[in-house]
């Protein structure tokens, strides 16, 4: 039931001419990598460089057969590459300039630990990305009215009475739509997580 898992995305990347696979991979992972880079405090241009370098390194290594899914999950591998790129950029910034750090709005750059494992910021982004994928899948399968009730009330913070009036349902029904939709979302997240683990 999972239409675009990491498995199917990765399979498509094996063929260098498969532009669709690359675009899908990019669309799935570039936003989360960019968000990760921003989360660790990189300014926009540096964050974009990290994303581009991470994806390029990943795809090159993947096509060279250096990714063994039996030994490492995609999250670990991609997160390790991204973490490494941030670390290297951080090291370059330290040596290149003492007075002009490329810090984001949140303050100074985080100083990632000296290893190649995904850091906490990447773990968090990965969780959010799974949630994003699950939400997309949920949107496709859900009853349109129930999804709209959930979206307006729970996501967009509309007052329950306004949602109920718009969709011609009771306030209690809006609450139930929200509760069931989130329950289903939780199930889909579990399915995706199980697949990523597998």
């Amino acid at each position: 039931m999972i239409s675009q898992t990491s498995t199917t995305l990765l399979a498509g990347l094996e063929d260098p001419r498969n532009e669709t696979a690359w675009r899908r991979f990019y669309a799935r992972y570039a936003p989360m990598l960019l968000s990760y880079a921003k989360r660790v405090g990189l300014a926009d241009p540096d964050a974009q460089d990290v994303v581009a370098e991470t994806l390029a390194t990943f795809v090159q290594a993947y096509r060279q057969g250096r990714y063994d899914r039996q030994r490492a999950r995609l999250k670990s591998w991609l997160g390790g590459i991204a973490h490494n790129k941030v670390r290297k950029l951080w090291a370059r910034r330290r040596t290149a300039s003492l007075d002009a750090p490329s810090a984001g709005a949140e303050g100074g750059l985080l100083d990632p630990a000296g290893d190649d494992r995904p850091d906490d910021a990447f773990e968090r982004e990965w969780q959010l990305e799974m949630l994003s994928t699950a939400l997309e899948m949920l949107r496709k399968e859900a009853d349109p009215d129930a999804y709209q009730a959930f979206d307006l009330y729970a996501m967009k913070n509309w007052p329950v009475g306004k949602v109920a009036a718009l969709l011609n349902m009771s306030a209690n029904a809006v609450y139930i739509c929200k509760s069931r939709t989130l329950g289903r979302l939780r199930e889909i997240v579990k399915l995706i997580a199980a697949e990523e683990e597998g």
Binding site: A30, P31, L34, S35, K38, D44, A47, Q48, V51, A52, Q127, L128, L131, S132, L135, A154, M155, V160, A171, N172, Y175, I176, K178, S179, L182, G183, L185, R186
Partner: protein
């Protein structure tokens, strides 16, 4: 008292201290089904926090992402 409507459970989960919820709270403390409903409603609030963080994060990076796309 019958099991309360979902609306009441949501209000409890949100931490409302409306006097009208006193009886509901008392019922929930005795009803395993409603305790489960309340736990789920509280878990939903956590999931919603994640969803809002996701929406905010993706909105924040969207202009950058579009910038990247146009240069690739």
């Amino acid at each position: 008292m019958r099991c309360p409507r979902q609306e009441r459970i949501e209000q409890l989960a949100a931490g409302s201290d409306e006097p009208a919820l006193l009886r509901v709270r008392a019922h929930v403390s005795r009803c395993p089904d409603c305790q489960r409903r309340l736990q789920l409603a509280q878990a939903d609030r956590g999931l919603l926090t994640d969803l809002r963080e996701l929406a905010e994060s993706r909105t924040r990076i969207k202009p950058l992402f579009e910038g990247m796309s146009s240069t690739d």
